[in-house]
C-alpha cells in the first residue's frame, strides 16, 4: 500500500478529543409541509467509531445521513459535530463545519459533475477551500489509496464504470480529511468485488486517520461485518 507519507500538514486526529464525532439529539426532519420522515431521532457516533445504520427503504435513513452532513435542515433537534453545534445547514453552515463531514452518495453518476475529469472531481474540495497548492501533493496518493490508476484520472464520468466513479467520489469525500465519513448506501449500486475493495479502502483510510464512520444501508451482512456496531433504524424512533 502506498503511504501518503510526505505530508507535513497537521493531522486532525492526534488531539483525540473525547467529543463524539457526531451527536444527533431529537431530530425531527421532513420535506416541505408533509408528515416528517424522522421524529425525535437521536444517534451518537463516537470519535473514530464506525456505526452502521440499517433499515428498510423509505424509512428516513438517507434523510438522517443528509442531516448529519448538514445538507438538510431538520425541523427540530440539534446536530453536534465533534462537539460543535451546527447552527445552519447547507450553505448557511460555516465552511469549517461542513468540511468536517465527508459524504459519499448512493448513485455516483448523479454525485459527479459530468463536466469534470476524475482528477478535478477529487481535487474540487481542495480548490473550493483555497488549498489549491495541496492538489499535486495529495491527489496521486489519495487516488492510489482508493484504487484509481493514473490513466483513469484524466477521464470524465461517462468514460468510467460505476465502481470507478464511486471510488473517485470516495476520494473526494476524504480529500479534506473529515472527522466523520457518511456513506449513504455507498455500495448499493456496485457488485460484490467492488464493494469489498471500497470497504477495504475506507477501512485502510480510517485506520490511518481515525475517521469516524456512519454507514447507511440495508445490507445487514455487510454492515455488521464492516462496523463496530449497527443500529436498527426503528430503535431510533420513539416507542
Amino acid at each position: 500500500m502506498p503511504e501518503p507519507a510526505p505530508e507535513p500538514t497537521c493531522e486532525t486526529a492526534p488531539e483525540t478529543t473525547p467529543e463524539p464525532a457526531l451527536e444527533l439529539r431529537g431530530i425531527t426532519a421532513g420535506y416541505d409541509r408533509r408528515e416528517p420522515v424522522l421524529r425525535e431521532v437521536s444517534l451518537t457516533v463516537g470519535d473514530g467509531e464506525a456505526v452502521g445504520l440499517l433499515g428498510p427503504s423509505g424509512c428516513g435513513k438517507s434523510t438522517l445521513a443528509r442531516v448529519a452532513a448538514l445538507l438538510h435542515r431538520p425541523q427540530a433537534g440539534t446536530v453536534r459535530l465533534a462537539g460543535r453545534p451546527a447552527h445552519g445547514f447547507h450553505h448557511r453552515a460555516p465552511r469549517e463545519l461542513r468540511t468536517t463531514v465527508g459524504v459519499v452518495f448512493q448513485q455516483p453518476r448523479l454525485a459527479a459533475d459530468p463536466r469534470l475529469t476524475l482528477a478535478d472531481l477529487i481535487a474540487e474540495p481542495l480548490r473550493a477551500t483555497g488549498r489549491r497548492a495541496e492538489v499535486r501533493v495529495r491527489l496521486p496518493a489519495l487516488a492510489a489509496s482508493v484504487g484509481l490508476g493514473g490513466d483513469l484520472l484524466a477521464r470524465r464520468p461517462h468514460e468510467v464504470s460505476d465502481g470507478q466513479l464511486q471510488r473517485a467520489c470516495l476520494a473526494r469525500a476524504l480529500v479534506l480529511r473529515p472527522r466523520l465519513l457518511v456513506c449513504d448506501e455507498m455500495t448499493a449500486m456496485l457488485d460484490a468485488s467492488t464493494t469489498a475493495a471500497l470497504v477495504a479502502a475506507v477501512e485502510e483510510y480510517r485506520r490511518e486517520h481515525g475517521t469516524a464512520l456512519l454507514a447507511v444501508g440495508h445490507d445487514r451482512v455487510l454492515l455488521e461485518r464492516w462496523c463496530d456496531r449497527t443500529v436498527e433504524f426503528k430503535t431510533l424512533l420513539p416507542r
Binding site: A69, T99, A111, E124, A173
Partner: protein, 304 residues
Amino acid sequence: MTAPAQAPAEAPGKVPVPASASRRGPGRPSGARAWRTRASAALTAATVLAALLVPVVFPLDQQAVDLTAKLQPPSWEHPFGTDELGRDLLLRCVHGLRVSLLVGVVAALAATVVGIAVGGLAGALGGRTDRLVMRVVDVFASVPHLLLGIFIVAMFRPGVWPVIASVGITHWLSTARIVRAETHSLRNRPYVDAAISGGASRWRVAVRHLLPGVLPQAGLAAVLMVPHAIWHESALSFLGLGIPAHQASLGTMTEAARGSLLAGAWWPTLWPGLFIIVPTLAIAGLAGAWRERINPRVRSELTL
C-alpha cells in the same frame, strides 16, 4: 419443396424496418432534414458574409439619390431595381440587412444575459425569491411584447440602440423561464450537495456547477431569438418608431415602399420582404437542427 423458397423473406423474429431507418443510424438526420440543415447553414453564411463584406468590397453610397432613375424595374444596372428616389435597392437591402442583423444579434445577446441572470438567480435561490421573481416575469409576459416594445422605443429618439433596448427588455422572459427550470433541476442534484459538503461557496456552485449546465439551453434560446429580434426591428421600423426613416433598414424600406406599390412598382416591397424572411428562416432552421442535436427526443417525436 416449393414452400421453403419464400421462407427467408419473412424469417421469424424479424421486425420489418423501414428502408430509410436501416440505411442511416439513429443518430443521423434523415435526408430531407439534413438537406434543410445544409440549406439553412448556407443561407445563414451567405447572409452574414453579404452583410459583412458587401459594404467593404463595394464602397458605394447607398444613400445616393438619382431622381432621373427613380422606380426603375430590375435591370442589369440595378439588379433589384431602384426606389422612389432612384437609390439602388440591392445596395440598400444589404445595408438594411446589416442593421437588422446587428440589432438581432446584440438584442438577443442582451436578452440572454438578462434571462440567465434573472432565471439563474430565481432558480438557484429558490423559495420566496423564486416565487417573487417568477411572478414579475409572469406580469411582464402578460403584456403583448410588441406593445411593450413600442412603449419603450417611444420614450427615445429613433435609432439603433433604443430598438436593441426595446427588444432586449421584452425578450428575456422566455430565457429566464428556461434557465430557472434548468437551474432548479440541477441544484437538487447530489453533485451540488457534494460540492457544498466539500466547502464550495454559493458563488462557486453557481459558476462551476450550475452555469455550465444551463449554457447550452440558453445558447439555443439566444439563437432562436435572433430571427424574432429581426422581426421586431422590422416591425418597429415599419411603424416609424425604430430606425430613422432615412437610414436603410429592412423595416424602413418596406414602409417607404408602400407608396410605390400603389404606383404599380412591386420590387421595392418584394426585396426587403425576402431579405426579412429568408435569413430569419435560415437562422431558425439552424437553431432547430441544434435543438434536435442536444435534445434528440424532439427529433424522435417529430419522426413518429
